[in-house]
Each structure stands twice: as structure tokens, then as C-alpha cells.
């Protein structure tokens, strides 16, 4: 077991170096040293294959890529957050000397003192690390939860409720224009009023039955149960269709990686 692991590692290392040499040899750009260019492509390819190897089973290469990715990305977002939010947004508002230190334009204003409040709240949050003052951390959390709950309350009431309800207000009287084409070709893409009205009916009934499915406090029995059953059918058809529709986009992502491996790394396809 131990020996096979070492052999596998050695093989991968050998292939890595081979790829590095070959890529470097064929690397043409004046901007950087060819060894660096070769290393970049080889390392990217190594990481790509390491992640793909996860499909076979969990293995040291995947673990390596995973742990490296976690560390690098955590630091990436921390740096970005620090420079954009703290230096970009907070510092220019609260301190002239700090602004000069970070070389950002100082933006004085008569309401800037309020920017000390989030700093205080932030420090209260850090109190979590203290054993005795940990309860202070609840204040900033309460602030965030309260603000966003209020914010979401009205906005979702409007966008997910009022606007969706009023969108179901559609005419449903059957207009027989276009019915002939629909019957003769049995085509759902036929234009004309008839197909549109059928679609409106399906949407209307689908919405009603779907909503009935979500009733919690009434037993799903009798007519109510039948409607709820139709509701879950419509949901399932939709889930199936959405699933099938997504396949194409996911395959394109894979093609993107195949292109990277076969064109950019191996250079098999021009």
C-alpha cells in the first residue's frame, strides 16, 4: 500500500517535470521567462487533473488541490474585502491620517461619525473570542438580522407575492381562431389565440394546484387532495424539464476543460 502510493507519487512527479520541460520548450512569448510560462500551464493542468481524479475516488492529489484552494481562496477574499471595504469605504470617511497612509482620497462629511458605529459593532462581534464578553456579539448580529428582515419583508411581499399574483391575471376565454391549425398539425408551437389561451389555462390551473399543494393546515383529501396531487405533478414535470435543460450548459463547462487540457496543455488541437 505504502509502496504503491510512493510509486504513484513518483510517476506523477515525473510526468509533471516532463510536461514542464515540454511546455517550456514550446513556449513562445517575450513577456516572461519560458520556464515560468511552462510551469504555469503545467501546474494548472496538474490541478485540473487532480480535481478530476476525485471522480475515481478521494486521493492525495485531490486532497492537495482541495486544501490549497481553501487556503488561497480564503486569503483572496480577505484581501479583497480589506482593500475594497475597509480601505475603500471606511477609512476615507473616518480618518485623515489613515487615508494618507493608504493613499486614498479623504472624504470628510458632517455625517461621517456614523461610520464609527459599524466599527464599534464589528469590535463587539470580535468579543466572541472573549469568554466573558461573548454575549456582546449578539448586538451586531441582531442589527444585521433585524435590518435585513425588515428589508426582505416588504421587498419579497412585493416581488414574490403581489407581482406574481397579479401576473396570473390573464384572459381565459377561448378564442377559436387558430384551432384548425392546432388540430391539423397537432403542434404546440402553432401561433394564434387558441394555443395561447390553452397555455393560459394550464398556467392558471397549474398555479392554483401548486399553491394548494403547499397548504399546511388542511388535510389533503377529496377534491382538495386531488388538486394538490395535480399540483405536485406539475412541479415534478417542471423539475424534470429544468433538469434536462441544464444538461447542455453543464456539458459546455466540461468542453471548456477538455479544451484547456487538449489544446492549451497538450497542444493536440490547434
Amino acid at each position: 500500500m505504502r509502496r504503491t502510493t510512493i510509486i504513484a507519487m513518483a510517476v506523477v512527479l515525473g510526468l509533471f517535470i516532463l510536461s514542464w520541460i515540454l511546455r517550456s520548450a514550446s513556449y513562445v512569448t517575450v513577456q516572461e521567462h519560458y520556464l515560468i510560462g511552462g510551469l504555469k500551464v503545467t501546474f494548472s493542468a496538474f490541478l485540473t487533473l487532480a480535481i478530476l481524479s476525485f471522480l475515481y475516488k478521494d486521493n492525495p492529489f485531490y486532497k492537495f488541490a482541495e486544501h490549497l484552494f481553501v487556503g488561497v481562496s480564503a486569503a483572496f477574499w480577505m484581501s479583497m474585502g480589506f482593500w475594497t471595504t475597509i480601505v475603500g469605504n471606511l477609512v476615507p470617511r473616518i480618518s485623515q491620517s489613515l487615508s494618507e497612509f493608504f493613499q486614498v482620497p479623504y472624504q470628510p462629511g458632517s455625517y461621517n461619525f456614523v461610520y464609527f458605529i459599524p466599527v464599534i459593532l464589528g469590535i463587539m462581534l470580535l468579543m466572541r473570542l472573549s469568554r466573558n464578553r461573548g454575549w456582546l456579539a449578539r448586538w451586531p448580529l441582531a442589527f444585521i438580522v433585524g435590518t435585513t428582515a425588515g428589508l426582505n419583508f416588504v421587498r419579497y411581499l412585493r416581488s414574490d407575492f403581489m407581482e406574481q399574483v397579479s401576473a396570473t391575471f390573464v384572459p381565459l376565454f377561448v378564442d377559436w381562431k387558430g384551432v384548425g391549425y392546432f388540430i391539423s398539425h397537432f403542434s404546440l408551437s402553432a401561433s394564434g389565440q387558441f394555443v395561447a389561451i390553452v397555455a393560459n389555462w394550464v398556467i392558471f390551473l397549474g398555479v392554483i394546484c401548486g399553491i394548494i399543494y403547499f397548504f399546511f393546515s388542511k388535510e389533503h383529501k377529496g377534491v382538495f387532495g386531488a388538486a394538490s396531487r395535480v399540483g405536485i405533478w406539475v412541479l415534478m414535470i417542471t423539475f424534470g424539464a429544468s433538469f434536462g435543460y441544464t444538461v447542455m450548459g453543464r456539458i459546455s463547462l466540461l468542453v471548456g476543460r477538455i479544451t484547456f487540457l487538449f489544446r492549451d496543455w497538450l497542444g493536440w488541437i490547434s
Binding site: 480564503a74 459593532l121 451586531p140 414574490d160 405533478w233 444538461v247
Partner: protein, 219 residues
Amino acid sequence: MRRQIPLALVFIFGVFMIFQYFVPHESSEWIYEFLLDWIYIIGIFALALGIWSLIRVSVAKIKTRKSGWGYPVITMAGLFLMILFGFTGYRDGSWGFHFMTAEGLSNPMFRNFFDYIMIPIQSTMFALLAFFIASAAYRAFRARNVLASLLLVAALVVMLRFNPYLGPFGTIIADTASWLLNVPNLAAKRAIIIGIGLGMVGTALKIILGIERGYMGKG
């Protein structure tokens, strides 16, 4: 006290934000923008807590020297290297505490790590979805009952929508697929969204009124 004050804060800010929505006046908009800025700033402090948690968990694993203790070392190496690159840079002839200059990032290694470590792993992780969507389809699309059959048939129809080997059925399948994607899809999504809207609104209201306090650990 320790519990009452946070609940009072939730109530005050929640109610304020609801009323703010109906008041278009300038002063109301100012406060709104301030509050949103605050959340971002508090978020950065929280990120420090997050990084601290990551470091602590990793160090604890390294200390035990159980199998696989080497991997957290890689995490820590990646973390500290990237922090070093993100917080130091070369500007005006000297190294210092910089990030961006007029020419771009002041430390090119930050960019390199992003381009040649983060990007390839990220896009490959995303590409794994192609495989998982296939295995999920194989595993789950069995005509066990009515619901599973509906799921299966709808998915098959949509997946066959541009298949060239179906002869005369091709057009019918393509039409049915686009009808499925436009009509029942719209109905189901609307029903779900109305439900979600109500659920969200109800939950938000319960939070503001202090009925739902699960997020403070008090059920």
C-alpha cells in the same frame, strides 16, 4: 437583559426598514444607504473571525499528527502566502503595504495565484457537474411511481429536443420540450415563488416580532 436588548434591536431596525420602504424622502434614503454600508463593514470584522476559525481548526489537526495532518499545512501555507501577496506590494520604488497601483495589482503574485491556482480548480469543480448530472440522472430517473415517471419523461423529452436521429418525431419532441419549458414551467415556478414569498414574509415578520428566535439559539 442579555437577551432583551438584541431582540429590541431586531424589532427597532426591522420596523424601521419596513417604514423606510414607503418613505421616498431623502433623509430616509440616506439612512438606508448608511445601514447597508454598515452591514458590509461588520462583515469584514466577521471575516476575521472566520479566518481565525480556519486557522484554529487547521492548527488543531496539525497538532494531533493523525494521518493526513500534512494537508492542513498546505492550507495554511496557501493562506499565509496569499495574505502576504495581498497585503504587500511594490510601488514608487519600494515594497510596502499596498494593493493596487495605477498599473494594476502591486503584487503580481496575487494575480498569478488567482489565475493559475484558483481559476483552474474552480472551473474544474464546476465542470464536475457534467459528470454528476449524468450519474444523478442514471441513479434517480427510474419509473418507480407516477411522480418519478413524470420527472423522467419530462427530462427525457427536453434532453431529446435537438436530437437529430428522431426523424419525424423530432419536431414534435422539440415543440413539446419548448412548451414544457414555457408553460408548465411558468406555472410551477410561480406557485413555488408565491409560496416562498409567503414563507419569507412570514418568517421575516416572526423575526421582527421576536416570535422566531432560533437564530439566537432560543427556540
